[in-house]
């Protein structure tokens, strides 16, 4: 974290090398979760670059009140939300329909389950999807997510509560983590 604070301070002074280092540091993790959300690299790249465009111009406004990652992801969240606005409306409409499970099959392994999870996440409203990614993938605390999403802590908990409920309806296999391992073991014995 101290390194990121230092990099941001140098970026505020127009240090191009520090900016490149910070960009490379965040590109991988941002690309990963944005790709899962957008499923389009061009859109994910656009959100990352719009975020770092703001970082380049506004690094001087970072006062250290929060972690650099919270500040940067807060910018990314606002950029992603506006990019997904129309998709979000669609997802909210989906919520009004009782969701059917994506599949009743047992996944052959975590790879397959991950693919299904990607499809299930795509059906969540954008606020819930981002909360899921920030919590499970990027490992942020509830308070950090509230800062990133600029909302009360209880709103974060509620978003995740609804996201979890919907994911469970769409993908009941998530609730039985040993099913995949069992399927793999069965495959192993058969071969």
């Amino acid at each position: 974290m101290a390194r990121e604070v230092e990099l941001l301070a140098r970026v505020a002074e127009g240090d191009r090398r520090a900016f490149e280092e910070l960009y490379n540091l965040y590109h991988r993790r941002m690309a990963r979760f944005l790709m899962r959300l957008t499923r389009r690299y061009e859109l994910a790249e656009e959100i990352i670059n719009d975020t770092f465009w703001v970082v380049w111009r506004k690094a001087g406004e970072f006062r250290g009140d929060s972690q650099p990652s919270t500040w940067i992801l807060g910018i990314a969240y606002r950029k992603a939300r506006s990019a997904f606005r129309s998709a979000s409306r669609q997802a909210e409409q989906n919520l009004t329909i009782e969701s059917e499970p994506l599949t009743s099959e047992t996944p052959a392994g975590d790879e397959e389950l991950r693919d299904w999870l990607g499809q299930a996440l795509a059906q969540l409203p954008v606020e819930q999807r981002l909360a899921v990614e920030l919590c499970y993938e990027l490992g942020h605390s509830c308070e950090e997510i509230a800062t990133i999403m600029n909302c009360p802590v209880n709103t974060v908990k509620t978003r995740l509560f609804h996201a979890r409920a919907k994911l469970q309806r769409l993908l009941p296999q998530l609730a039985t983590p040993h099913a995949a391992a069992g399927a793999q073991a069965r495959e192993g014995r058969a071969s």
Partner: protein, 237 residues
């Protein structure tokens, strides 16, 4: 389940994602862990939550190289101004001096004077801008340098060209939205900017006066000529 344990269950249920990702700390963590030990539903959900964490944090099959994206962003940055540098906070003594300078009769008086002067200039400019600006077709050229004419509106453009050719004129302006052309005698290489109408211009005006297809001809400036002595001949339909 009593009211207290229902409340503890609901609270823990909401906090399970952070118990799973390891970011729940302090008393909240201790309370949640204690509840999970005695609650089969929460224990099962915690397993599912940990599985979700594992699925979402496993190494990606595809990784994205940042290089090309960064190059695009740097190109964008190169086309723009440098970032806003963080303004250093002034030292306390410097801050006090700065504050003192703003007390009368220091910079505050100077600022007041500058503001008053700026307001005066602004008012003058605004008044000037508020006045209607009039322009005539001769604005920009000395009177008589260009002859402004309007043809019958039903006249095809090809016929206008033919008419102008036949009277020895060429177009140097227009036609504007009102259909007015600025013309000069075909021999003139450039419109005159001073000295009034030339004899060629007056001859051209006279030729046009004789054509019924010409709806309006701008009167030429008065000059000590025989024609003028006979009175204005401009036709205004």
């Amino acid at each position: 389940m009593n009211t207290h344990s229902v409340s503890a269950h609901d609270e823990t249920w909401l906090l399970l994602p952070w118990l799973a990702n390891g970011r729940l700390a302090g008393p909240q963590r201790a309370q949640a862990e204690e509840h999970v030990r005695g609650c089969a539903a929460c224990a099962q959900e915690l397993l599912a939550q940990r599985h979700l964490c594992t699925l979402l944090t496993e190494p990606e099959r595809v990784t994205y190289a940042p290089g090309p994206s960064l190059r695009k962003l740097l190109e964008r940055i190169d086309g723009q101004a440098p970032p806003q540098a963080r303004a250093p906070m002034p030292a306390p003594a410097a801050r006090r001096r700065l504050a003192a300078a703003w007390r009368p009769p220091g910079l505050a008086w100077a600022a007041t004077f500058l503001l008053t002067a700026a307001l005066g200039i602004l008012t003058g400019t605004a008044y000037h801008w508020s006045q209607p600006v009039y322009a005539t077709y001769t604005t920009g050229h000395a009177a008589g340098a260009v002859l402004h004419v309007a043809f019958d509106r039903s006249l095809p453009f090809g016929e206008v060209e033919e008419l102008l050719r036949s009277v020895g004129a060429r177009v140097v302006e227009g036609p504007g939205t009102t259909g007015i052309f600025g013309i000069v005698p075909a021999g003139d290489t450039a419109p005159r900017t001073e000295g009034g109408a030339s004899p060629q211009m007056r001859a051209l005006a006279a030729r046009l006066h004789g054509d019924a297809r010409v709806r309006w001809i701008e009167p030429l400036p008065a000059a000590a000529t025989v024609e003028d002595a006979q009175g204005p001949s401009a036709r205004n339909h």
